[in-house]
Symmetry: C2
Subunit: 134 residues, 2 copies
Amino acid sequence: MSDTKKELEEGNALSINFEKRGGLIPAVAQDGRDGSILMLGYVNRQAFEETLRLGMATFWSTSRNELWTKGATSGDFLKLVKILVDCDQDAIVYVVEPQGSGACHTKDPATGAARKSCFYRQVNLKTGKLERAE
Amino acid sequence: MSDTKKELEEGNALSINFEKRGGLIPAVAQDGRDGSILMLGYVNRQAFEETLRLGMATFWSTSRNELWTKGATSGDFLKLVKILVDCDQDAIVYVVEPQGSGACHTKDPATGAARKSCFYRQVNLKTGKLERAE
């Protein structure tokens, strides 16, 4: 194993490889209370630094092409608990404590409130259709 | 909201938008037993279909540029429990039951066994250095 690879995987230097993925890496937001996965967004260096500065999960919106602190408009902030970094430092997990009703921009038709997670559907492995996640 | 967007977000038709992300979407592998996040990989249509066919989490290796069924060489298969799909159908979660010692290609120096998760380090929010994840 090269020294560079060893340092990347086993070292304590934070050197997230944004460049490897074109400047943006995937960031998973996970609820620290129950382990559920809330959403997946993308993060560039600026969004990562803003997350550290604010203590709130911040992404780079690939649709609006702008910095996006989750909750800045809705109030549904995702308060940062910790940031996990993977072996080759090109993916991260924001472990968070949701401050509002939900992390998803969609609303539950039954309640009208933002859904807690964007992953509210699962694939029915027999039919190949989507159904409500259990 | 357009009908297309409504169907994408609220419908039961599986129509994963691989094209939106250049043919590859991020796929999070999550341990169905304790909710921990094991790894993040990428999936194209072929890898997704192979996952359904085998019942084992399969990715597209962006480094080797080939289909990659996790565990095919190491034995550390990730047996599929369910697949979650997000609101705009461009990210998925493989909820899995790990069959081997670990999902990561790195080894724990203390045991010599594959680490359970690729996310074995966290950012120390005071120093900005990496430390062992709690």
